[in-house]
């Protein structure tokens, strides 16, 4: 297990290296310099600004310095917010995104699994059709449209919930729902088809033949096996929520890291763009590792580390 972890961490570091390198060079080849959109009093001052941020150094030196700093978890200063470092921005805004993200993950999992199980049990009956209609809508309605609709209906027109910003828990309800809708729909469909497969399996017949009640058979035998594909989906789930946060935070004016990322793109604030990209990548790669470990723990057929079971 320890060897497996080390190996995976090694892969993560390699991937991160590529990501940092690619992002770095992408940013440097992007048209215009970070200060070109600002009204610069004179070229001399622009040269001074460049020197202050180390932009006048040869490229390879900048690259090397950047790598070293990343290793020290120092993402450098923001170009647009004078006096603030990228680390400051991340530290300040990530907690909001984290809370929202966790809420959305929980919502997507809980409601998605429930819908999927209900649909499978009531196969080809009303419950199935209802659940699947909700699922198809969830997949077809982009999260930001859902967000706009929710905001319009529940906040603006019905005034049931707050419209924007993050002042208390109530402020997170609409954004969390908007974030969770599409992954929820995926999970519901996944759960349903997995459950249907499982319920047709032979070992379900064996369980029934032992005289166990329908409920015990469905939940103790069926659900345990059916939930596997959903666990595999946890990785893409985190990705979905993370990228979804870019727009959702913008619509609901949540001061989270996704919002900062979007703002930095518009501002062409390159260090922030690079820093958040690296940060997100670390987050995602670690999440995927955690999910793989969880999967290995739950499914007895999988020996995390590659060795199979005895014949």
């Amino acid at each position: 297990m320890a060897r497996y972890l080390l190996r995976r961490l090694g892969y993560i570091l390699i991937s991160l290296f590529f990501i940092v390198t690619i992002t770095f060079f992408c940013m440097h080849f992007a048209p215009g310099s970070p200060f070109s959109s600002e009204k610069m009093p004179s070229e001399a001052i622009q040269k001074q600004m460049d020197a202050a941020y180390g932009l006048d150094q040869p490229l390879y030196k900048q690259y090397f310095d950047y790598l070293v700093n990343i290793a020290k978890w120092d993402f450098g200063p923001s170009f647009k917010y004078v006096g603030q470092s990228v680390n400051d921005i991340i530290n300040r805004s990530f907690p909001y995104s984290l809370i929202l993200g966790l809420e959305a993950i929980f919502l997507a999992l809980a409601v998605g699994v429930l819908l999927g199980v209900v649909a499978a049990i009531k196969h080809n009956k009303f419950g199935d059709y209802a659940a699947m209609i909700i699922a198809v809508l969830g997949i077809s309605v982009p999260s930001f449209i859902m967000a706009s609709v929710l905001q319009y209906v529940f906040a603006m027109k019905l005034q049931l919930l707050p419209t924007a910003r993050f002042e208390s828990f109530a402020y997170t309800i609409l954004p969390a729902i908007a974030l969770a809708m599409t992954p929820l729909a995926f999970i519901a469909r996944l759960m349903r088809s997995s459950m249907l497969d499982v319920l047709n399996a032979d070992y379900i017949k064996t369980a029934k033949a032992k005289g166990l009640s329908d409920r015990v058979v469905t939940y103790r035998h069926g659900l345990r096996n059916a939930i596997m594909p959903v666990v595999s989906y946890l990785g893409p789930l985190v990705v979905s929520i993370l990228t979804g946060s870019f727009v959702i935070e913008k619509i609901f004016a949540i001061p989270g890291l996704g919002n900062e990322f979007v703002v930095s793109i518009t501002n062409r604030d390159y260090t922030v763009i690079m820093g958040t990209t690296v940060f997100f990548s670390v987050l995602l790669l670690v999440s995927i590792l955690v999910v793989d470990i969880i999967y290995g723990l739950i499914d007895p057929r999988v020996k995390v580390g590659g060795k199979g079971g005895a014949k």
Partner: protein, 307 residues
């Protein structure tokens, strides 16, 4: 039990038609015919096709029907709600939203279809070559795919757009750079499964070249899953385009897409909801239709789904 009235004649041998015993009920069909028949039975999927046809028709002829075009400014009539004159209302510059919606349709659908098609071409080639040759070739090709897919799709696209600048084709290219990976994986899986089947060995022993085997045997047999993946990647492409437009990375003005129209409409949502409603509705409808069709295709082409 009633007593049967039987005569001696009843115990004579039965004249049988040999063919009766081995009669097969039902005409035989090719796999594709079978799949098409199943697909047609899926009313929901057929509905999806009708929707797409109508949308395609409207995107071509939409502005002609309304009599307005998508670019004429008419500031006096700006921000008017739907009326008899302007069926979908007008935008901030007084342009007819009905015509703009169908112009945007052309752009959005074009981007969606183009990106999906490019993904198809690259993905099929990559996956087929990787799956067919196996070994080191496969290992390296898939390793590249794995690393590329390690970074989230949208992050890559966003970064590329920042570097390349905005534009219709940069958008499509950015979307395609990592979008082909899913298709490649599926094709590779199918090819690996198929190449171990005997007719490939037979073709090889008859002297068929690699490219011929790929072209005539392997690629046509991956048709099913490829078609399903293609159909389902269109809504993803449309979604991505809309998403990027929302972030300000969409097609630049004066071009418009459904994505840019929804993005523009957002600030005034509370007072001018109709400006958001129409493009948003059509984005959802298009995605819904392609999802339904894709699902229907998947059910029709999967031989295990026998009702």
């Amino acid at each position: 039990m009633a007593e049967l009235e039987l005569k001696q004649a009843d115990f004579e041998p039965l004249q049988k038609n040999e063919a009766d015993a081995e009669r097969i009920g039902g005409p035989s069909r090719t796999f594709l015919q079978d799949a098409w028949r199943r697909f047609k039975q899926n009313k929901l999927a057929m509905f999806g096709i009708v929707v797409i046809i109508i949308l395609a028709f409207l995107s071509i002829f939409g502005s002609m029907i309304s009599g307005h075009n998508y670019y004429t400014n008419d500031l006096i009539n700006a921000n008017k709600p739907p009326s008899a004159e302007h069926w979908f209302g007008t935008d901030a510059l007084g342009r007819d939203l009905f015509a703009r919606t169908w112009y945007g349709a052309r752009i959005s659908l074009f981007i969606g279809l183009m990106a999906a098609l490019l993904d198809l071409v690259i993905g099929v080639l990559w996956g087929a070559i990787s799956g067919y040759f196996g070994g080191k070739v496969d290992e390296y090709m898939m390793r590249i795919a794995d690393i590329l897919s390690g970074v989230p799709y949208l992050l890559v696209v966003i970064l590329l757009l920042v570097v390349m600048g905005q534009g219709l084709w940069t958008l499509i290219i950015a979307m395609t750079i990592t979008g082909w990976i899913n298709m490649a994986r599926i094709v590779r899986g199918e090819v690996m499964r198929l190449r171990s089947e005997e007719y490939v060995m037979a073709a090889r022993s008859l002297g068929a070249s690699t490219s011929r085997i790929l072209k005539k045997h392997l690629i046509p047999n991956t048709f099913g899953p490829v078609l399903v993946t293609l159909t389902l990647s269109i809504p993803t492409a449309i979604f991505t385009e809309a998403f990027l437009s929302y972030l300000g990375l969409g097609v630049p003005a004066p071009k418009a897409s459904w994505g840019t129209m929804t993005s523009d409409a957002l600030p005034a949502l509370q007072y001018l909801p109709y400006q958001l409603f129409f493009p948003a509705f059509f984005i959802c409808l298009t995605m819904l239709a392609f999802n339904i069709i894709g699902d229907g295709l998947r059910d029709a082409l999967d031989p295990k789904e026998r009702k």
